[in-house]
């Protein structure tokens, strides 16, 4: 099975190896893509990767720790807006990165405060999800209302691209190709980091919390602390994605922090396969592509489709599309095997 649920034991079981192979194969595409494409198409792929990274952050929270956030774009948006607001104040080549760090710090700060009160207040499940929804809603209202700082409905332009500089020496990534590789590197690092962390005991503990939190607690695990840490890391990663988006596109707007994006990222993770880590990237790519096609046909149609998707997802494929493919794959292998055995 490709699921990253820990099959304990040997350092690299065959399931792990299969997963690594697939991840490597998939990574090869964006790695080599810049060689044959134009800057505009590349920037589209680059942006899709960033959203994939955002989806990964939700997958960590939802797929690994079992907490559904309905307002995850709040963290993405705080990262984006933090970068866009702080970077111009600093100046210099590293302004973008410093702004990004500020955005991440703000997002993690919010996660700590909200997380502390909710998690240690024993709030789980539906109530928790509602509060995250309200978080995104409120964040969106603040961003639209506080126009003096956030640019209101129009947003902010002028976020510098990522770079660093020491005195004379300046290293700025201002073109789509180098930015693409930066985002790709960060995405790979994030996926590998989460994958490695979840392979061992930590992954098992998270799976136990996901399955039966009280039981995990009676086994000696400080579940509240674990959940808070996951929330903080997830928020930080989402903010990093947001900051990257601000830096490579140079522009932030309220749609980066609001409810629609918060729900779209749930769709990406759901389609790609909750808990698979690479699934969210695939989900983001597939759905964004679909969105472009549908929206060019009729922009009204897309939210309608998303709504229909949510309903379909619940009734038809609650575990994402990946398990459906896996079952189809196994059925094909089963047929092939039978054919091989037939006289």
């Amino acid at each position: 099975m490709i699921e990253s649920a820990t099959t304990s034991g040997r350092p690299t079981s065959s399931a792990d190896r299969a997963w690594l192979l697939i991840a490597a194969g998939l990574a090869a595409i964006p790695l080599l893509y810049p060689l044959w494409t134009d800057p505009y198409s590349l920037s589209v792929v680059r942006d899709a990767l960033i959203f994939g990274l955002f989806a990964l952050s939700l997958d960590f929270l939802w797929g690994k720790a079992g907490i559904l956030s309905f307002g995850h774009a709040a963290f993405f948006g705080v990262g984006a807006y933090g970068t866009a607001i702080v970077a111009p104040m600093i100046g210099g080549d590293a302004a973008g990165l410093v702004g990004c760090l500020a955005g991440i710090a703000m997002a993690v700060g919010i996660a700590v405060v909200v997380g502390y009160f909710l998690i240690f207040g024993g709030v789980r499940g539906a109530y928790f999800t509602i509060v995250t929804l309200a978080l995104s809603l409120v964040a969106q209202h603040i961003v639209i209302g506080w126009a003096r700082v956030t640019g209101g409905d129009a947003g902010l332009i002028g976020t510098p691209p990522p770079g660093i500089g020491f005195g004379e020496w300046s290293f700025v990534l201002a073109d789509p190709v180098s930015q693409h590789y930066l985002v790709l590197a960060i995405s790979l690092a994030a996926v590998l980091a989460i994958w490695a962390a979840c392979r061992g005991q930590y992954g098992r503990v998270l799976a136990a919390i996901r399955g039966n939190e009280l039981r995990a607690r009676t086994l000696g695990h400080n579940t509240g602390l674990h959940l808070l840490v996951v929330l903080m890391l997830s928020a930080g990663l989402a903010a990093l994605a947001g900051g990257l988006y601000a830096m490579v596109s140079g522009f932030v707007a309220p749609d980066l922090i609001g409810l629609l994006l918060s729900t779209e990222v749930i769709v990406w993770v759901a389609i790609g396969g909750r808990g698979t880590l690479i699934g969210p990237f695939i989900g983001a790519f597939v759905v964004l592509r679909l969105q472009q096609e549908v929206s060019s046909f009729n922009p009204r149609l897309w939210p309608l489709l998303i709504g229909a998707f949510f309903v379909a997802m619940v009734f038809l494929f609650p575990n994402g599309l990946l398990p459906l493919f896996e079952r189809a794959w196994e059925r094909m292998r089963g047929v092939a095997r039978k054919r091989a055995l037939a006289p």
Binding site: F117, H141, V311
Partner: protein
């Protein structure tokens, strides 16, 4: 004294609206632990009903009668078609009803366009209350909402249906063992909650922008009402509405609306830490 009366009445206005919207949500949540993310859309449906009716020459009072019927019908359909199948799956209910909410919003936009809908206040002018003048419409709103809530309270307390409802909230299995048709109770309670929210939509429409997305705001607020006040009892909803409505109204005088909403969110989050079941737990 001059300021206090209008302030109090403003608090009462928001509180009574929140109670109407929150009641439906709370009963459902207290009953079956189901969160209906499309609950805000019932408010929207009520407001749009008013606009549509007034558009073809109907009266405001007609809308007050028709909207709960339409809202109730939608609620009944939603319960039948979607929610009923997901009772044991709270997070799936959230996802599915959220999908319905998106669909409803888009359909409304497709049918009526995305700009604000026009509605007309039935009552103009102000009334003098204890030395200050206050919009007459708001007074009528408060009176109407309070009456409706009182009726609902009586139904809850004095009728057979209300008794059955309370029994199911207390202990569902026991109620079933006693022969109460819990599924029927759920369906009716759901429809009533939707109808109340639709009435709230009609009442609030002349005071606000009637847009297809207006529901989200009421959804969030009514969830705070349930979180703060506690689900499953009218007293809890009253307490929650008073706190949320009061806090937001008072803050609106001092700070921009967005900040006051943020503060209410923070207050709800902090409160839930210390009273996880709400001020008046079920």
């Amino acid at each position: 004294m001059d300021q206090a009366i209008p302030l109090l009445l403003n608090i009462l206005t928001l509180t009574s609206i929140l109670m109407l919207v929150g009641l439906g949500l709370a009963i459902i949540f207290g009953l079956m632990n189901v969160i209906n993310m499309a609950h805000g859309e019932f408010v929207t449906i009520g407001a749009f009903t008013l606009s549509a009716l007034q558009g073809i020459g109907g009266s405001y009072w007609l809308a007050l009668l028709v909207a709960p019927l339409i809202g109730g019908a939608f609620g009944f359909l939603l319960e039948r078609g979607i929610v009923r199948h997901l009772y044991a799956r709270p997070l799936d209910t959230i996802l599915a009803t959220w999908g319905i909410s998106l669909i409803l919003q888009q359909v409304l936009q497709l049918l009526f366009g995305s700009g604000p809908q026009e509605v007309f206040t039935p009552i103009h002018g102000t009334i003098s209350i204890l030395g200050s003048s206050y919009p007459a419409y708001r007074l009528v709103l408060i009176a109407f909402a309070m009456t409706l809530l009182a009726i609902t309270f009586l139904v809850f307390r004095k009728t057979r249906f209300g008794l059955d409802l309370r029994a199911v909230i207390q202990d569902r299995d026991m109620a079933e063992a006693l022969g109460i048709d819990t599924r029927r109770i759920f369906a009716i309670a759901f429809a009533i909650g939707a109808a109340l929210a639709a009435v709230a939509g009609v009442l609030i429409a002349p005071l606000t922008n009637v847009l297809a997305q207006m529901g989200a705001n009421y959804l969030a607020r009514s969830f705070f009402v349930v979180i703060v006040g506690g689900a499953g009892s009218i007293g809890g909803i009253a307490a929650g509405s008073a706190v949320v409505g009061g806090l937001e109204t008072v803050l609106n005088y001092q700070v921009p609306v967005t900040v006051s909403q943020a503060i209410v969110l923070v207050a709800a989050v902090v409160l839930v830490r210390f009273r996880p079941r709400g001020l008046v737990p079920a």
